[in-house]
Amino acid sequence: MQVNEYKPLIVAFCCNWCSYAGADLAGNNRLNYPADVKIIRVPCSCRVNPMFILRAFQRGADGVIICGCHPGDCHYTSGNYYTRRRMALLFSMLDYLGIERERTRLEWVSAAEGAKFAATMNDFAEKVAALGENKRLEDLRCKK
């Protein structure tokens, strides 16, 4: 193992009712995923403001993933549908601006899908690591 292996920083916004519980289940089942993934609990994926995502990139995140309940399963009935539209448009805009599309992701992970949570995080971390450091949405002032 290299000493200075590049470690991406990944922020995961997880809805309290599904994905956060899914992450807990991954823990219960001792399913590994990189420690680079740091979870922030939100009541619903629809609480995630695009500003939070940009803020994470500004502060040095290399990837941001939002996890919510599967369509139809939202604890609040429709929150994830709004999330889906917001993120589809935001991700498309970031891509339009030339930001690597693999740095953002929206996934549906239920409370029962511990394995999916771990697999998703492994996959996302791998893809982000392959991209290397986030250079296009960074704020150099935060990298000192």
Binding site: R59, G60, R141, C142, K144
Partner: protein, 341 residues
């Protein structure tokens, strides 16, 4: 006075750039011009005014002042200013050159702004006389002769040659460093050009603008004018006029928390912004009328009052062409009696 053929211009730039960072007007790829760092391949653009004035060189849009880190109860300060390098700005018009006088009085009087002072010391201005003023030009209203620009070196450009005249020691030094590329000459051609330009100035649509009804001491007379209401009626409260203005010098000081420390920086501010000079007690000017009035009263009354009658406008005309709603200092002056009959 020295001159060189225009064909020598690239060589001249290259020579200056050897020991200085050189900025020249070049295309901004969006229909305008901006002072651009010269390097091989950068084309000089024969333009009247750049979109943004050259005040950026001495008073940058944003500038880091210091950094501090808090650990426990200790605050550690770091001076993070960038060491100023010597630089030369070529092609500054008479109006913009004059704006440096106005900025100097603000930043170089006690207490001296060391960030500004340091940049001023390191910068050499090569001005350029105007030959084709625009309809929006009104520098003569403020006593500026566009045919005789000041600066460390004054320059005139004719169809085939560039004429250079050093005005300061810094200018002398720079001029002598490029002696090999230039030759001594008389001022005949320059005078002819000046004559022509001055004639055009008299024909400009804004030639009848005067400062007679403005200046120190006019505060009471102008402050409560009913005209401010209609003049400010459509103002959007954006900062366009302020940010393209060569003489606006207001800034805000802000802290940016990087997560590992705090960078204290300053950035341009605009008296047109609703948040301008917001303090603990709130805002000092709550309506757009007050904010609008402040900008023009400052340029036309308060500043001259404090600065021996010097107005804080140089008639460059940038706000005339850039204001989204076409409200500007000329309309304000005319509404308040600034038109020669």
């Amino acid at each position: 006075m020295r001159k060189c053929s225009l064909s020598v211009l690239p060589a001249l730039f290259a020579e200056i750039a050897k020991s200085n960072t050189l900025y020249i007007p070049a295309s901004d790829n969006a229909g305008g011009a901006k002072f651009t760092k010269w390097e091989e391949g950068i084309q000089y653009l024969d333009t009247l005014n750049t979109v943004k004035s050259p005040k950026d060189f001495f008073f940058p849009h944003t500038e880091d002042l210091m950094e501090f880190k808090v650990t426990g109860k200790n605050i550690e300060l770091f001076d993070i200013r960038e060491e100023s390098e010597d630089f030369v700005v070529f092609g500054v018009r008479a109006c913009d050159v004059k704006s440096f006088d106005i900025l100097d009085r603000v930043f170089l009087s006690d207490p001296v702004d060391s960030y500004y002072a340091s940049r001023r010391e390191h910068g050499v201005i090569i001005s350029l006389a105007c030959t084709r003023p625009a309809e929006t030009c009104f520098c003569t209203t403020f006593g500026i002769d566009p045919a005789t620009p000041a600066g460390d070196i004054s320059a005139w450009k004719t169809e085939d040659a560039l004429y250079l005249q050093a005005n300061t020691q810094k200018g002398e030094a720079l001029l002598s460093s490029v002696e090999a590329l230039t030759e001594e000459c008389d001022s005949t051609d320059v005078e002819a050009q000046q004559e022509k330009t001055r004639k055009i100035m008299q024909k400009l649509p804004l030639a009848n603008l005067t400062t007679d009804s403005f200046g120190g001491g006019k505060t009471l007379e102008l402050f409560d004018s009913p005209k401010w209401d209609e003049l400010s009626e459509a103002c959007l409260g954006c900062g366009t006029c302020t940010f393209v203005c060569p003489t606006c010098q207001c800034y805000d000081i802000k802290d940016f928390n990087t997560g590992n420390g705090v960078i204290r920086y300053r950035c341009w501010d605009s008296c047109m912004f609703s948040e301008f000079t917001k303090m603990a007690h709130g805002n000092s000017r709550l309506t757009q009328l007050e904010r609008f009035r402040q900008r023009f009263m400052h340029k036309l009354v308060y500043y001259p009052e404090n600065n021996d009658g010097l107005f804080s406008c140089v008639g460059c005309g940038r706000c005339l062409s850039k204001c989204p709603i076409s409200m500007n200092i000329v309309k304000v002056m005319k509404a308040l009696g600034g038109e020669k009959k």
